[in-house]
């Protein structure tokens, strides 16, 4: 079965490369809609990475929430704030050179540290199977408090977003 794993490794490296390329595109493309689609590519690629790490449930949730909902949100925002087919205006400001240098420096230092540290890889962690039911069970037992808090947070965000983005602000608010 080594050929299969070799092909799988090849596939994962290819996916990584595609995700990085899409990420660069998402950051540097001039037309905002194209870079939103590149972000969608990145999100699907990251979901593929989760699949490679046997976290199927997480991959599906990622696609459902990110690609299904957040991308729709971003595209709605783009549509509302940009004239249809507006000219592609320069997207990055003056300090693009410094930004690049900062990011590159960050990568070099952190990468070096990561590469040298001997990570305590435990064999049985790699092989342990972790299905959606264990996830659900732990969500309901050990992490039930954050689960409830996140519900309240999302509820607050729901109302907050609507109030902020309302077109006809109520009488009192418009000074």
């Amino acid at each position: 079965m080594t050929e299969l794993t070799f092909i799988a490794q090849l596939g994962i490296y290819a996916m990584m490369f595609v995700v990085l390329a899409a990420a660069v595109a998402a950051v540097t493309l001039r037309n905002l809609f194209h870079c939103a689609l590149a972000l969608a590519g990145v999100l699907i690629g990251v979901a593929g990475m989760y699949l490679a790490m046997h976290a199927e449930f997480l991959a599906m949730v990622q696609i459902l929430i990110y690609v299904g909902a957040v991308m729709t949100l971003i595209i709605f925002a783009i549509m509302l704030t940009q004239r249809l087919g507006a000219g592609d205006v320069a997207q990055n400001n003056k300090q693009s050179l410094f930004g690049a240098v900062a990011a590159a420096g960050f990568v070099v230092t952190l990468g070096g540290i990561l590469w040298k540290t001997p990570w305590p890889v435990k064999e049985e962690a790699v092989t342990s199977s972790f299905s959606a039911s264990d996830l659900g069970e732990s969500l309901m037992t050990t992490y039930v408090l954050p689960f409830e808090i996140i519900a309240i947070v999302l509820f607050a965000v729901l109302i907050g977003a609507i109030v902020v983005a309302r077109k006809d602000a109520p009488k009192g608010a418009e000074q």
Binding site: M1, E3, L4, N31, F33, H34, L37, A40, I44, E56, F57, M60, V61, I63, L64, V67, G68, A69, M71, T72, I75, F76, M79, L84, G85, S131, A132, S133
Partner: protein, 379 residues
Amino acid sequence: MDQLFVGIKTALLSMLGTFMPDWLVTVHSVLISATGIAIFGPLTMMYLTLIERKVVARMQNRLGPNRVGKFGLLQPVADGIKMLTKEDIVPYKADKLLHLLAPITIVVPALMVFAVLPFGRGMIAADLNVGILYFLAVSSTTTISIFIAGWGSHNKFALLGAMRAVAQMVSYEVPMVLSLVPALMIAGSLSTGAIVAAQAERWFAFTPWGFVAFIIFYLCGVAEVNRSPFDLAEAESEIVAGFHTEYSGMKFALFYMAEFMNTFTISALAATIFLGGWHGPFLPSWFWFLLKTYILIFVMIWFRGTLPRLRIDQLMGLAWKFLLPMALVNVVVAGFWYMSSGVIRTFGSIACLVVAFMVLTALNRPYVPEKREYTFAEN
């Protein structure tokens, strides 16, 4: 007969196995089921177009296509050739890349969803243990391709249609997911195979909560696919053809194919989860699955033959003010049903659901504008 296709596949694999290393055989087994789906998908799509035209015609007292082929059976082939040979116009200022990307990104999820459908006993292409979630995730990505279609074709109507379609799909996805929760709760697993197994002796549609969940899921499915009473996105009378206005030729055929394949997959999933998938007395299992799916597709076409189109506010009102609360109540009732037993189990849940139905219909009085009296000018 029941294990016909499984038998064919195993025979093929064993035949391949003789002269191939075993890892290549596993690759081939995936390939065989993939080609099976790749053939079955477009085939059902082609003949669904014909069935739809024939059934809607018969409902309107006319014959429907019967010129091409024996009973019009070659009509889909004729349509396909017509679509292929039609000129493919790309609007002048449109975004070439997006214009091409939209049909691709709408067909791919439509085909990917086939992987999780249990066609028969042991005939699931990929029995993921996150089957239903896979289905929901993949079918939610089509909202982006509708956006790309609307934005890419640089046309007001297309953009309007895309906005409407996405608003509708997002607001119908919530009740759809919630209507699936009771079935998953009772079946205890997300994988479609396990759900079908859980319905061995009693189909979910026959339980009180299952029936309500089935109706809600089916209505939301019809809305997700932008069909019949909910086809506001491509309403010919209002906005030309909605998000696929600027498409012609092969690209339009892809949109058409995606719509019909989604129709098939939504009905197939409704049949799998609520009508007991491939369970059935003595006919082969895959026959039962296809029979139930095509009955549900017939109901969708029946909707198209009868019901007028919903206004945008009725559409949204139905999703948020009626289906969503009903689905929530249904989850609670399913919990109660699961916990209790005996007489109070059925009657209690039915009573709950009927009360909820009455309350919600009372709350949702449709907005009837008050009668206006017209005073004519006295001369």
